[in-house]
């Protein structure tokens, strides 16, 4: 029989820590700090609108690019919250989560061999999506001492003649790092100088704990070379609704539109109506959730200090990224032992790139009570390891 598969897909590496995930899933009584989604239910008003839209029989396709009213709300929201100015008619495309936007952005922009600079640790889909689109990922290993921010020097060194896109994902999953306006500014000069485009995944933009999130697209001259990807999953606690959007220059959006039209048709109608209410009515609830995450973040930082676990203070998303190098074992070994001996699940940093070795991603999308129990167990595990070392 002939090989049914494309060589491209066979070359894509499956996530290396699947084995670890299987153990977590099977262990029923473990406390997990491993999830990448909010613990809050979607605000009730949004859910109500989802139900109402079904009752009203809004069960048909919407226009390919998404509901006009939703795009208008997004345009308003972005201008109020992020100082971004997008025309709802031509510069915004509603997608099936931010994930679809990442995929079709690469597909619309890359030719075989074009290089995409992907700073890691970062979300797991960038590299495979880039490769599937024929691009060549060029990974930058971000540094703990820089609090996992991208420095101008690191960027400059990664650029070649084939560099076409820089992928930015701040606030970052898994490190929780953010980049402020001042920290982005020197990158802007380099990007313009080398005529590079930016795909900025800002899905965690609402979860920024040190002043408001600043988008790189807001710098003068950057809008025309940036795709901003955002969505409702994190800030509005709507992961399962699968709704995101991408904003950018018309000449890119209209090509992405073609892929979206042929491959997807449109984002879920029900979710679009619900999200509209989210933008109109639920910002106070988003603010409340942010305040709650922030409280947990501070709690964790304080507990780490007590344990003596080194961790830079992250100001975004809902992750902390402590360093476990002192124990002389791999992230995966550490996570596996922590799970087996103390029944606490965290994600090894290596899930997000090789440079995540020596780190753990700990999610604080959990109640303070859960965090307290889990951190208590982590503390006793670390205590045990240190005693082993001394012995």
């Amino acid at each position: 029989m002939r090989d049914p598969l494309s060589s491209k897909i066979k070359d894509i590496q499956p996530s290396g820590i699947r084995k670890f995930f299987d153990i977590v899933t099977e262990m029923k009584d473990a406390i997990s700090l491993g999830v990448g989604e909010p613990d809050f239910d979607t605000p009730w008003r949004i859910r109500q609108e989802g139900i109402r839209s079904l009752e009203k029989g809004r069960t048909f396709y919407t226009s390919n690019a998404g509901l006009k009213e939703l795009k208008i709300e997004i345009s308003k929201y972005l201008s109020e919250r992020c100082d971004l100015d997008y025309d709802y008619q031509s510069e915004i495309l509603i997608t099936v989560g931010g994930s679809e936007a990442i995929d079709i952005a690469f597909r619309a922009m890359l030719d075989e061999g074009d290089e995409v600079i992907i700073p890691q640790p970062s979300y797991v889909s960038y590299v495979p999506c880039c490769e599937l689109a024929g691009g060549k990922p060029v990974v930058i290993d971000l540094k703990n001492e820089n609090e996992f921010k991208l420095t101008p020097q690191e960027l400059e060194e990664a650029i070649t003649d084939r560099t076409k896109i820089l992928l930015l994902s701040f606030p970052n999953n898994p490190t929780g790092a953010i980049m402020t306006k001042e920290e982005l500014e020197p990158l802007v000069e380099i990007i313009k100088k080398h005529d590079i485009y930016v795909i900025s995944d800002e899905i965690y933009s609402e979860l920024s704990y040190k002043g408001r999130h600043y988008s790189i697209a807001a710098f003068p001259g950057m809008k025309e070379r940036t795709l901003v990807i955002n969505g409702f999953s994190k800030g509005f606690a709507m992961t399962g609704w699968r709704l995101g959007y991408v904003c950018g220059p018309v000449r890119i959006i209209e090509q992405m539109f073609k892929i979206h039209q042929y491959a997807i048709m449109c984002a879920p109608t029900n979710s679009q109506y619900a999200a509209m209410v989210g933008l109109r009515k639920c910002i106070p609830e988003v603010d409340k959730m942010r305040a709650s995450y922030d409280e947990r973040r501070r709690f964790l930082m304080k507990e780490f200090k007590k344990i003596g676990l080194p961790c830079f203070e992250p100001f975004g998303a809902f992750y902390v990224f402590p360093c476990i190098k002192e124990f002389g074992m791999s992230s995966e070994d550490f996570a596996t032992r922590l799970l087996q001996e103390e029944k606490v699940a965290v994600v090894p940093g290596t899930a997000f790139g090789a440079c995540g070795e020596g780190f753990l991603r700990i999610s604080y999308a959990y109640s303070i009570e859960d965090l307290r129990v889990a951190i208590g167990r982590l503390a006793s595990f670390i205590d045990k390891l240190r005693k082993e070392e001394d012995a």
Binding site: F21, V24, V35, V124, N173, D294, K302, F352
Partner: protein, 160 residues
């Protein structure tokens, strides 16, 4: 900071002051002092546990009693209110706009005790025109808290 402290305490009367202090970026003693001041000023009037008595004994009832009264000259409603709230059985009493005057809540009594109280103490009091007693059948949410919280964790244990 005051209003923030009050909101936090209203949601959780036993919240750790250290956590609150962190939130405002002030020393813990400052939060404690602020709370003590608000207690003195009568802004914080008390701390209570929210108890689901249904799980403890099944013969206690909560009654909401609508009371219509004749307001008294010069003293208005206050004097009558005082006469009612002196009874230890009365958990809550409030003057209400609309078709009746006081809403009186009686808690922690049996059905018979509640009936006796209404018939023998409340309804016969001078100045009271009528009462209408409503018994709570099931309480779902109180002070912003679900009485029977739905335990559920439907998220996958790990996701990237």
């Amino acid at each position: 900071m005051r209003e923030e402290i009050l909101k936090a305490l209203e949601a959780n009367g036993r919240i750790e002051l250290a956590g609150l202090a962190d939130k405002f970026g002030v020393p813990e003693t400052e939060v404690a002092n602020e709370i003590a001041a608000m207690e003195r000023e009568g802004i914080i009037c008390g701390y209570h546990a929210l108890v689901n008595w249904d799980k403890v004994r099944d013969d206690h009832v909560t009654a909401l009693i609508e009371v219509r009264v004749t307001p008294q000259k010069e003293r208005g409603f206050d004097r009558l209110a005082k006469k009612i709230y002196q009874f230890p059985e009365v958990d809550t009493i409030a003057l209400i706009s609309g078709s009746y005057d006081f809403l009186v809540v009686i808690k922690g009594q049996t059905l018979r005790e509640t009936a006796t109280f209404v018939n023998e103490q409340l309804a016969v009091m001078d100045g009271i025109i009528s009462t209408a007693t409503h018994f709570v059948l099931k309480k779902y949410k109180d002070h912003g808290t679900l009485m029977n919280s739905e335990e559920r964790e439907e998220r996958m244990p790990v996701s990237l």
